[in-house]
Amino acid sequence: MSRTGAFTKRLNRRQYLKTAAAAGAACFMPTILPASALGRGGAVAPSERIVLGGIGIGSRGEFDLKWMLREKDVQFVAICDARKVRREAVKQRVDKHYGNSDCQKYPEMREFLATRPDIDAVLIATGDRWHSLATIMAMRAGKDVYSEKPSCMTIAEGREVVETARRYGRIYQTGVQRLSEANFVLAIELARSGKLGQVHTVRAHIAPWDAAEMSHAWLPGEPQPPKEEVDWDAWLGPCPWRPYNSTYIKGGWRGHYDFHTSCIGEWGAHTFAQSQAGIDASNTSAVEYHYVKNASGDGMVTKFGNGVQMVLSRGDQYWHGPCGMRFEGTEGWVASGDNYKQPEVSSSSLLEDGEKLLADYIERTGRPMNHVRNFFDCVKSRQQTVANPDVMHHSMSTVHAANICMWLKRDLKYDPVKEEFLSDPEANRLRTRAQREPWIY
């Protein structure tokens, strides 16, 4: 497929600038350069722009895209999706934003990645089943990646994302955006600061719908649409084949074992990363998992190597908003969730230096309270993001181990260095799943 649209314009502008500079005084025609080429008038010079593409942008992806389009140094140029209706919708949205018709559409990922070397980074929001493999394919093609959560379906997939990022030197951010939201960051920093005393417990919110056990059923088969409309084979990707049913592609894939990471992964992808950040466990995973006899994992106690326990909690007794977390120490506690005006604390004195604590964090890390901005800053600086592959992999490994504990209905012990369960061959078999050809990393 030939390069057209935004890439061609950008290339031609650069060539123009190079030629104009070389012509110098010999040129009798006045050289008029548009202000945007020089970064004037609020525009960002093309050489400073991050060229962005998208893979599988549905409802959540649209939310991310809206954020990303606000960034003046980002230019979205192409969408790849197995569904025609989504390719059209994203193109329409992007074209309207830029006031042109330049956004290109691609039905097939390999072609998209191979023919767009101009694209610097991709937003991946395909649904859980594709996040890791699409990330790996994009990284191999030289793209930096912002991938929605949960970033992987198994422990092995998460490890492969880490290794691929290292192999190709790519920048990666997983969409656990609360690691870049002030209330959550402040709660995490309070936990880390020692102001709570010795933190002994953190409570992590899991989704109040679905169960840990998921369905293995096939929805009734429907007539498969033409490939141009829905590429069902590509939509399934590495997952086991089943007959087409439109419910899957409209968001009804949740709750199915092959496509989803359960109620534990749905919010645990966020809250475990948040919790682990506050107890200095971002570079490890829980080592003990204690089975609870209910459908969701509510009340499961996990324990980290540093002695801190993380308790999974489905209800709202510890918070009053989604994706809550609560750190409990010997001298106090702090909790936060969505829609909080500020974290809740055991004593108001804990928040007296809250602003300074947050400001110190921002200065120390250079990370803005804006998850997508953090990603784009790191694309430019090549520094690690706040939700980089190692952070993602270790928190998701805790998610997967918790799921496996529920599926096997027994306590488990896990070695986060060897990334294997102790004395449990059956649990170890569940660390990975054979991928469906040809979608094998």
Partner: protein, 231 residues
Amino acid sequence: MTRSIVSLACFAGLLGALVATSSGQDAKSPAKSQEAKLIAIVKSSSSEKDKADACMVLARIGTKESVAALAALLGDEKLGHMARYALEPIPDPAVDDALRDALGNLKGRPLVGVIGSIGVRRDVKATDRLCKLLKDTDLIVAEAAARALGNLATPAAVKDLEKALTEAPPYRQPALCEGLFRCAEALSAHGQRTDALAIYDRLSRPEMPGPVRDGAARKARILRQEEGQKI
């Protein structure tokens, strides 16, 4: 119409029974009996769904006893993947023998799947056969072979990957480079840093694809820093 032997409720029941027995009470006989039932389903004229479900459970409890029945499905366009789903985790060399045997009989996507599973299981005995597939006219087969050889990381794998890379047109290079990256990482992990550096230096050459070149140069730099060599 063929009546399904195993309904969804029965599948859930099999899983439930499996969990009860693997919880530590009298594990051996019930698990063997469960496996025998599942093998019978795989071999029968049951529906695709029933066989897929059986494979799902065998992925957790399958032993050498299941290998023959599962291997027979490796060439099936619909069930080949589920056969591998069950075979891949079984810790018995009979699986490797079956996958290697299948290499000579399959084409297209089923062959890609088998190659992938060989790579996951790191069956070094398959090195020669995979090397022969590096120049397969079917691109996805050749690419799968390159990645799998990267997992094997034997001296023959390194040699043939490098040779293939020398002769490969640009569109075939990325997978070969990925294979070599994996070899270099394995060599480095085993203390063979000189050999690993040789690969990274090779992959850093100007004629290599940009993402590969940059990644390899960075890896070489890190390795040299670790070795305390002058950059």
